[in-house]
């Protein structure tokens, strides 16, 4: 019986039908390497073998490895987006305020053209998240942008830390309080959804513990939602929480203290600058927009200095997209932290490389150019923080997934035999996207 109980956990750990993803070898010569962890190295070579960074140095020569001349160009680690909704078929299961059991890893869509567009912006990894309809939205998945694969399993970043989406404030209140006439109708209610979930999970774990220890004869009812919430309490699932207001951010940290949960990354966190010392003290991370706010009432109080203030206060901070449009120029977004807050080049670039890697628990694998790390690399023609910079080539595990010199108009993997107009020509405009509420039109408006 015990084996049954841990089954859910086991499949996440060992993976499903194992999908071996392709790796490549490449030698990038004479570039300016922005390593993030070891300064900037001019006229330096970078060798990727079997998908891993094998050597960084001058005058590396190998036999028949594909060589790219990067003279005059900039080579940096692949950009990581800690908050995105691309490449998934379902974002919100908006029928209940707590759907901890659902998992976007079940809905990966390798055909989404936005993967390719993100690669064209140098982004090699994104954190595919649930939306913010529910206080507990469900489990997220860190994906590698292996454009061209058709098996969704091959998109997973194997070994990434498991994460779960939480949401504070207006979205869960609107969907469930206004839309469903149930809790949470207020910000207080949102807090209570978390407290209820954690308390119930404690009871659930106790019931199973009793059964496993032979204290009861009959197995308790298996509840996949409680399994997931239990995993948060056990530290196996890291929370990424949609948040805006400072009071709510403090509230959630208090809830987590009460239940002994130690790790959290706040997402959006537009009022994070007000509580930066408190976030730093808790050890919470923050993933913010560069300068996007005022798109709903609770997001009116914000500043473009947010990333810089958080960084200066010792909070590990990243800049994310939450948009299929912004994901294409996160290097511009990072550069804004220099205009607003005067971060150094390295501090600014850490916002879109090593820091999001830390927040996703993958910093031992990616986020900087270091021997032994994954061969996720992007080559820019200019310094990536320059407004004139254009990504030239993007590699994932040493495999070229974007090359500006081989970029035909229609890069879709598949077309619909019934379509009348090329679907890739539809407009992309992030101002009109509310990715966090995708799929909720029916629940909210079809009444």
């Amino acid at each position: 019986m015990k084996t049954l109980h841990i089954y859910f956990f086991v499949f996440f750990v060992f993976g499903l039908i194992s999908a071996q993803s392709e790796t490549g070898d490449v030698l990038i010569k004479n570039g300016t390497l922005i390593t993030i962890t070891d300064g900037v190295k001019e006229n330096t070579d970078l060798l990727i073998k079997n998908g891993k960074i094998d050597k960084i140095g001058k005058n590396i020569s190998t036999g028949d490895v594909k060589t790219i001349d990067a003279t005059g160009m900039y080579v940096m680690p692949g950009i990581i987006d800690a908050h995105s909704h691309i490449a998934i078929d379902a974002v919100n299961e908006g029928t209940n305020p707590n759907t901890a059991e659902v998992w976007v890893g079940d809905a990966l869509d390798p055909y989404d053209i936005n993967i390719y567009r993100a690669l064209a912006g140098g982004v090699t990894i994104s954190h595919a998240m649930h939306g913010s309809a529910n206080a507990i939205g469900g489990q997220c998945e860190t994906i590698k942008h292996r454009w061209g694969v058709m098996n969704p399993e091959e998109m997973r970043m194997e070994g990434a830390v498991r994460t779960i989406k939480f949401a504070l404030g207006e979205n869960p209140m609107r969907v469930h309080g206004e839309g469903g006439r149930i809790m949470p109708a207020t910000r207080m209610g949102v807090e209570q959804v978390f407290r209820n979930a954690f308390s119930e999970a404690q009871e659930y774990m106790k019931a199973w513990e009793d059964y496993d220890n032979g204290k009861s004869d009959m197995a308790p009812e298996y509840n996949i939602r409680m399994e997931a919430v239990s995993d948060i309490l056990k530290g196996d699932l890291m929370i990424h929480c949609h948040s805006y207001r400072a009071d709510e951010i403090l509230m959630l940290m208090n809830v987590l203290r009460d239940f002994g949960v130690e790790k959290i990354c706040f997402q959006h966190v537009n009022e994070g600058f007000k509580v930066a010392p408190e976030l730093a003290e808790f050890g919470a991370y923050a993933s913010v927009f560069s300068d996007w706010w005022a798109y709903k009432f609770e997001v009116y109080y914000s500043t473009a200095y947010n990333a810089a203030i958080l960084t200066k206060n010792g909070v590990i901070t990243s800049i994310n997209s939450d948009s299929r449009e912004l994901i294409r120029h996160l290097y511009h977004e990072a550069a804004k932290s220099q205009r607003y807050g005067g971060l150094t080049d390295n501090e600014a670039l850490r916002l879109i490389t090593l820091n999001p890697a830390i927040q996703l628990g993958i910093d031992d694998r990616v986020g900087s150019l270091e021997k032994g790390k994954d061969g996720d690399v992007v080559i820019f023609d200019k310094h990536p923080l320059s407004v004139y910079a254009i990504p030239q080539m993007t590699f994932v595990d040493g495999v070229v997934r974007f090359d500006i010199n081989s970029d035909p108009a229609d890069m879709r993997i598949e077309v619909d035999p019934n379509e009348t107009m090329p679907a890739f020509m539809e407009a992309v405009d992030h101002e009109h996207d509310d990715s966090c509420l995708q799929g909720l039109n029916e629940l909210l408006f079809d009444k």
Binding site: D106, M150, P417
Partner: protein, 563 residues
């Protein structure tokens, strides 16, 4: 006087009826259970040839197939001269016989959409598909007419609509038709509308939960049965009850997986939860083909194909506007990609064949009359004729576990076959007879060249007729004349030679003469409708006499018009 005679004949029919009332007319047995098909062509592969054999059917079973047998004296004989016999097809996955539900109301009325009742959530694995089947649903006869004899019918619905059943496509009641009342558990990656589980992610999570719960449910029940003392009584749960055979691998899961992504998701769930799965109604196998071939998966491929791209006819007209459109390179490029995509769909069956993956075909939401055209497209894309026919017969039987009783023309199997006017895959051939468990149904073949045209005046003249009305043989004459493009028909019963009955509503189209007449009877009239299929000098047809029912009528031409 004459009227009285006519009335006397009719009243005899009526009077006989009460006398036979002890017989159940809903259940009149066939005159003979033996059918002898004389000299039909049987397709052989390796080497590719046709054999000429006789087939003897006895009470729904194939008794023998051999050359030059002697027909039993009491057998109905079907002359197989120049017709071709094929094992009837098996539809491996469809909603055959289950009518489309009426449009449901906008939004289900539930108190908490996160916890809807199971039927609204689409979770009813205990439901049996056969209870939804209507024996007289049009889809059953349509499949039969296209060569099918057996269907695996799954219920309509969302995530877990219920259990599929295997039916024989012939019977007066659903019970008559059932070969296996519970053959499968249908699982679909399809959420409920507006309630949990509404998305694919929730469906997958819920499915994992139900699988675990069913295992524990079974374990708790067993533990309680073994020793109930001091144990909490396990509460009955019909959903979990229906899933216990699934988690114990006693009932297979048919996972509805149309798209490539659904195929992968089904495979993930199967490997994680460890049940037997048959991927069903699949449209694209190609990206996952290696995994499918390695794991020796069973596939039920959709017979549906995207419409072929229509070449623009405007081009021929040469009008300027369309010429402009034609020259748009983006449009051209898209057209090319669409053609490639369609080709890929067409080649899926051939790919399965080349990778040695066993597959059958589903007829779900598919017009049976389009089957041959789509098979032709698949064959043009590389599928062998033999593989196409196997997919429709023996492979389907094996996938459904029916290979002992059907799927091929063999001694001892069910007499499920159809007789075609030529090799089945020939464009020109059509199905003349379908035989399902020995029940013969004959179809009218539209003779394109021989059919009489409407202007043909050769039906004019005097015809004889004979009709057996409940044991009473009536004969007589039909006199057909034509004036100013209008037919006039009079019918004279030999029992009342001086009372010709004039007919009305006369029409003659595509070789079928339809007309109606009134027969006086007691204090009222009895309407009679005739529908006669005329083939040069003879006809077959039916006469519908008032409330008495329909009776076969036949006859032949005696003479042409006098003038």
């Amino acid at each position: 006087m004459h009227k009285k005679l006519f009335f006397a004949i009719v009243s005899v029919f009526i009077l006989i009826k009460p006398g036979l009332a002890q017989t159940d007319y809903n259940n009149v047995p066939d005159v003979t259970g033996k059918i002898f098909i004389n000299d039909v062509y049987l397709k052989q592969y390796n080497p590719d040839t046709f054999l000429i054999h006789d087939i003897l059917i006895d009470n729904g079973i194939i008794k023998n197939i051999a050359p030059a047998m002697e027909a039993p004296f009491d057998a109905r004989i079907i002359e197989g001269d120049s017709i071709y016999a094929y094992s009837a097809f098996i539809d491996a996955f469809s909603h055959t016989g289950i009518p489309q539900p009426e449009r449901r109301q906008q939004r289900p009325d539930v108190q908490f959409r996160g916890f809807p009742p199971n039927d609204i959530a689409g979770i009813t694995p205990e439901k049996m598909a056969f209870k939804d089947i209507k024996a007289n649903d049009k889809s059953i006869a349509a499949l039969r007419k296209s060569g099918f004899a057996v269907s695996h019918v799954v219920p309509r619905g969302n995530m877990l609509p219920g259990q599929g059943c295997i039916i024989s496509l012939k019977g007066d009641s659903v019970e008559d038709m059932i070969l296996d009342e519970s053959s499968s558990c249908l699982f679909q990656l399809r959420g409920a509308r507006g309630v949990y589980p509404s998305t694919v992610i929730a469906v997958m999570a819920k499915w994992r939960e139900l699988n675990r719960q069913a295992e524990l449910y079974s374990a708790n029940n067993k533990s309680y049965a073994l020793d109930p003392v001091s144990k909490e009584r396990p509460v009955m749960n019909s959903v979990l009850d229906a899933l216990v055979p699934v988690v114990e691998n006693r009932r297979r899961v048919f996972s509805h997986a149309q798209s490539n992504k659904d195929v992968y998701r089904s495979l993930v769930l199967q490997s994680e939860l460890g049940y037997d799965v048959v991927l069903s109604n699949v449209r694209r196998v190609e990206p996952a083909i290696e995994a499918l071939s390695q794991d020796k998966m069973h596939i039920i491929l959709s017979t549906e194909l995207p419409d072929a791209v229509k070449e623009d006819k405007k081009k021929e007209k040469g009008n300027e506007e369309s010429a402009k459109e034609e020259s748009d390179p983006r449009r051209e490029a898209l057209l090319e990609r669409k053609k490639e995509s369609i080709k890929e769909f067409e080649s899926q069956a051939a790919l399965l064949e080349s990778k040695d993956v066993r597959f059958a075909f589903s007829m779900m939401d598919f017009k049976a009359t389009d089957l041959k055209a789509n098979l032709e497209r698949m064959i043009a894309a590389g599928l062998s004729e033999q593989a196409a026919m196997n997919a429709l017969t023996i492979n389907a039987a094996e996938i459904l576990g029916l290979e002992k009783i059907c799927g091929s023309l063999e001694k001892g199997k069910m007499a499920n076959l159809f007789l075609s006017t030529g090799p089945y895959l020939d464009k020109e051939s059509s199905i003349k007879y379908s035989i399902v468990e020995g029940h013969v149904e004959e179809y009218e073949i539209r003779k394109k060249k021989r059919a009489l045209s409407n202007s043909d005046n050769s039906i004019e003249g005097t015809w004889s007729f004979s009709i057996d009305v409940m044991g009473d043989l009536n004969t007589g004459k039909i006199v057909i004349t034509k004036e100013a493009d209008q037919y006039e028909v009079n019918i004279i019963n030999d029992a009342a030679p001086d009372d010709p009955r004039p007919c009305s509503d006369i029409s003659f189209e595509y070789g079928t003469l339809s007309l109606s007449l009134i027969v006086p009877y007691e204090d009222g009239d009895l309407p009679v409708q005739l529908s006669l299929d005329i083939d040069q000098d003879s006809f077959n047809g039916t006469a519908t006499i008032g409330q008495l029912g329909s009776f076969p009528i036949e006859g032949s031409k005696i003479s042409s018009p006098e003038n």
